[in-house]
């Protein structure tokens, strides 16, 4: 691995770290606008994180070492997963380290520990959050893998960088419309579910009847909460990146020239912020579904990705 590869990895890492709070801020701002509130500055999440890092954390006396260790594991596994997803340049230098399965299971590693941490404090809220997360995660995973596989078929590779690179060259959607569109819708629904957005979960509420993710992390405070929140932002960012770069890879750098990279950064930030606005608007247009109605939504995502697969093969015959 050359020095440039290494620099690119570092660059991407800081891009994800630096940009993810902004995405959260943008979505909040858009939602505030839609609800006729003034809303906080889009940079507010940065201040929140800085404040949280400085605050004194409280750890439950019932908790074991799992509870303080989880934020670090969650942070590192989410950031590691983000390094497999190309942002400004494709293919990423770390392309070789893992494919779509590795991405899904790296994210699952974080979820696994977060679910344990939810149970660790002994509070019923944490257990409730973990229990609900278990069912939502179980139902999204097959749809996620199938939809990513459907797009992998067009590219002839299951490595995410290769998918993005090939679609960038082949012009993705233009080439293979029906399967890609279906996979796109499926992946959008999965994004809402995986990142805890309305209509699956509501990140803005602390009501025990509805919360999933917030219930799991209820006992966290101080720097631990900061790491968990940051990781949640990065996970959101990973899914938005997947959506924009798989289905609309235009503008991503495919060579190592400075101008291409510069353009790549600009286009990427533009696309991700744009999609964040869409998510914000989308969140305001729907009410949160009951937990047991979420099944139908995720079932629809699964069927759509299955159809994407069927159409891919049928259109080829």
């Amino acid at each position: 691995m050359s020095a440039i590869d290494f620099l690119l990895i570092i660059l991407q890492m800081f891009l994800v770290l630096g940009l993810s709070p902004l995405i959260v801020g943008v979505i909040r701002r858009v939602k505030a606008h839609m609800q006729c509130r003034h809303g906080a500055n889009v940079f507010q999440p940065y201040s929140d994180l800085a404040k949280l890092f400085r605050k004194e954390p409280v750890i439950s006396t019932t908790a074991s070492w799992i509870f303080p260790a989880t934020p670090y594991i969650l942070f590192s596994s989410t950031l590691a997963a983000s390094l497999l997803v190309p942002t400004i340049i494709a293919p990423m230098p770390l392309n070789f380290a893992g494919n779509i399965i590795a991405l899904v299971y790296l994210l699952a590693l974080g979820t696994f520990f977060l679910m344990l941490a939810g149970l660790d404090s002994g509070s019923a809220f944490g257990g409730m959050g973990s229990s609900r997360e278990a069912i939502v995660a179980s139902l999204t995973e097959p749809a996620l893998i199938l939809s990513l596989f459907a797009v992998a078929l067009t590219a002839g590779s299951a490595n995410i960088s290769a998918i993005v690179y090939k679609t960038a060259i082949l012009q993705g959607i233009v080439l293979d419309p029906p399967p890609h569109l279906m996979a796109l819708v499926a992946l959008f629904i999965i994004t809402l579910a995986e990142t805890g957005r309305v209509p699956v979960d509501n990140p803005a509420t602390h009501l025990e009847l509805t919360m999933i993710h917030e219930a799991m992390i209820l006992e966290y405070s101080g720097r631990y909460l900061a790491l968990v929140e940051w990781a949640a932002g990065m996970k959101l960012m990973i899914f938005l990146t997947l959506l924009v770069n798989i289905f609309a890879p235009w503008g991503i750098a495919t060579t190592l020239s400075p101008s291409a990279l510069g353009l790549g950064v600009l286009v990427f930030v533009g696309k991700v912020v744009g999609l964040a606005v869409v998510i914000g608007v989308f969140e305001c247009m729907f009410a949160k579904l009951r937990l047991f109605r979420v099944t139908e939504l995720l079932g629809a995502a699964f069927i759509l990705s299955l159809l994407a697969l069927v159409f891919f093969y049928i259109l080829r015959v």
Binding site: Y105, A108, G122, A158
Partner: protein, 676 residues
Amino acid sequence: MTTILFLALLLAYACGMLLPLCFPSRPHIQNVIAHGSASVACSLGIALGLIGLLASEPLVWFWSSSIPLLTFSLRLDSLSAFFVLTISLVGLAVSVFASGYVQEFYGRIPVSLLGFLYNGFLLSMLLVVTADNAFFFLIVWELMSLLSYFLVVSEHEKPDVRFAGLFYLIMTHVGTAFILVTFLMFYQETGSFAFEAFRSADQALPEGLRTLVFWTALIGFGTKAGIVPLHVWLPYAHPAAPSHVSALMSGVMIKTAIYGLLRVYFDFLGGPFPWWWGFVVLLVGTVSALLGVMYALMEHDLKSLLAFHSVENIGIILLGIGTGMVFYAYDMPHLAALGIIAGLYHTINHAVFKALLFMGAGSLLYATHTRNMEEYGGLLRRMPWTGLFFLIGAVSISALPPTNGFVSEWLVFQGLFLSLELPSLFLKLMLPIAAALLALTGALALACFVKAFGISFLALPRSPHARKAQEVPVPMRVGMGILAGLCLVLGLAPAVVVPLLDRVSEPFAGISIAGRMFEMGGWTLAPVSGEFSSLSTPVLAIILVGLTGLGWGLAYVLGGKGKTRFYKTWGCGLNVTARMEYTATGFVQPIKRVFSTIYQPTVKLETEFLEESHYFAKQRHFEFSIEPIFLKYLYHPILKFFSTLADRSRVIQGGNLSLYLAYIFVTLVVLLVVMG
């Protein structure tokens, strides 16, 4: 040299079986000798397995006998050597563990007898995977079944243990019957019981008979492996045995069935077989994996939960092998080899982490004297080592990177994804669906082990047993530690493991793919099809460790040292007690509800109200159960049929000796007339 090694191994097992009997009423000495000998024998077995894997020619031992058709012939080819290695690796760790665990039984169960059965069981498994004669194979197979039956009923004073043992005994003999039929069909065609003759008979078998052999072998070995719907005995028998025996049964014994399937399909039948064989195996694998994990979720007896997970993992192994069979049928040897390697990799991985988890469950049983998860809780603080090892096992079985379970499931996924190269549209669609269902299985397994670890080891103790629990003795921790280490090693070193497995699959697929599995000098696993996909667990592990450091550094830089306050959990104004915690039953309730079609749960809630007002409950009685579908709709009708038949035939059973003599006479006459 290898012969001496093999004889030394036999001697060590013989010592382990017989020497403890010479020290009556000295349980500690019996224990040390039995499990010490087993450890020595397993170490020799590991050496033998490695030699067999690396040897270019199969090693053969041969003793003739005076019984016609029976020869004591043993053959150690790469497939046998792989299973010898797996059995011995797990056997070594379990033997170390057992030397601590068996202390639990001093004075209750004769340790010498337990040691005799334990060593005999290990030896019989070794002989099963090395036997080279069908007659001899059936004898050692039966020996393995019977010895494990006696081990299952070690605590025979409990009625449910006796029931589990009986159920196991019947089911395993149904399986043996089908295996017997399989071998008899070969015998009919070849006139010999030697495996050598079966092997050369591949083209001689007529098509119809080949199909029949496929089915009888699947049912026969499938019963032992615990494929759905033949799995019903497994969740009873495996938990009933002492925990170190459960570890062996779930970890390695059911793998002998995988050995049998590979031996019969690829070695004996060989040649091109129809694609639907592979598809049937895939189907069985998918259904077993999914239903196995679903039933595991509903179990709150830790050992039964683990037993159901064995059904799941056998399913995953069969998914790998089934993919290999499909590719084999279409004459795509590279991908066939990939499928077989994936299946074998998961075989050894499952052996390692399942034995580890069963030993963990045994440690909890040792410390708390209960198997009910709802009575555990908070054990990570009281049993830090057991907890850590169980966590490593749980992470591995949930297939999370960078552990071993992840690598083998990843390989299974690649095999399923590469279906895009198949010519058949039907299979092109079916294999990705199997992959999606495997993803569902994986996610549910993750949920199940969050439950198993979270409810058992975290939060507050839920019973006085858990409050008084203490860490288990050192030998038990060492046994678990060995396998926990192996979970990580097998995950981080596919570069070492895959070439070894390639030696096993090479004779079957007819091609070696070790050279096409790696890129970047062995750091990256990139199966066969060019740039299709790649994975590097060592790099992922380095990144994960590095980024954890980064997270810690960021927290330090942005927040400074800072103090941490410890305070009790907020309980809405009340002190949090164990009764407020989420229970295992509560944890899986959403899953139970979403998949209620499969579970068909029945809930019984009886409330006794206060006399003064029926708004206040005095007492509530809650009962819930899920429908055991297979027992109810498949096994009970069969049982009913046979008991009705038996009832009907009672008419002719007079109980009078002369009547029976008359029957014999009539039969004889009829036979003479018919045959004459």
